[in-house]
Amino acid sequence: MGMWTLIGSECLLFGGLIATYMVYDGRSVTGPYPHEILDIPLTTLSTFVLLMSSLAMVLGLQGVQEGNRKKAITWLFSTAALGTVFLGFQAYEFTHFYGLGLTLEQNLFGSTFFVLTGFHGAHVLVGVLWLSALGFKAIRHRLGPNQAVKVEVAGLYWHFVDVVWIVIFTLVYLIHPPGPPVL
């Protein structure tokens, strides 16, 4: 119940951030503009990585519930690794955008984009650390079926981070304001 309450409050947090992005979308008076720099193929790939991390997460939880230590360790660390790959994509995207002149202060797009995706990235980082800690507990034989609820709670958090990205990917990257998108 505690995790669901946290997730509920996070819905309002991300709802506010997404609403702010959408209100200011297409209102920047100086570039770079979204259609000039957003890399859709790269972000689609990172979205795929995050979605597959959710699959790895449920398989990890199943491993813990079944008392299958090897399966639990494999999939928990796979989830953390896929989350780290996602963060790598985001770090590349941020530094690439910075190189193209898009900063937090450059324009409305920069401010709202970096705050929204940065907050999400911070959540992914917390999830990666949390899942890594659970993976190490499993290695030390301290994560048996009787403690599966700990993994289930971490999983809820991880999947929530995933569904938030599903929304961000569509609203920020795929649905662009009218204008000449660049391939």
Partner: protein, 111 residues
Amino acid sequence: MSSESREVMHDQHTHPTAKTYIGIGIILAVLTAIEFALYYFEVWGWLARGIAMPSLVFLSTIKFILVVMFYMHLKFDSRVYTGVFLFPLALGTLVIISLIILYRLLPHIPV
């Protein structure tokens, strides 16, 4: 009961099998690929914006529901959890829709 239909009992609720999880994962990957294709169909002018945008929102909603129902186990958990999640989610969605109506559809309001 076959191994395929066998479900793991935990905390008085059932969880899907690994086969179901993998099936959902494949569906999520396919839907993402369709979204990617729709984006470029619109960019290349093969698809009207009036079709692409609602289609993308629809596909995104399907993905959201699949993850929440199956991976987050809301389909199998207590209805109380559903309420605790859906109420703030509805509020968050209402905030987004309200602000878009206020600041984008009523352009006389200064941002």
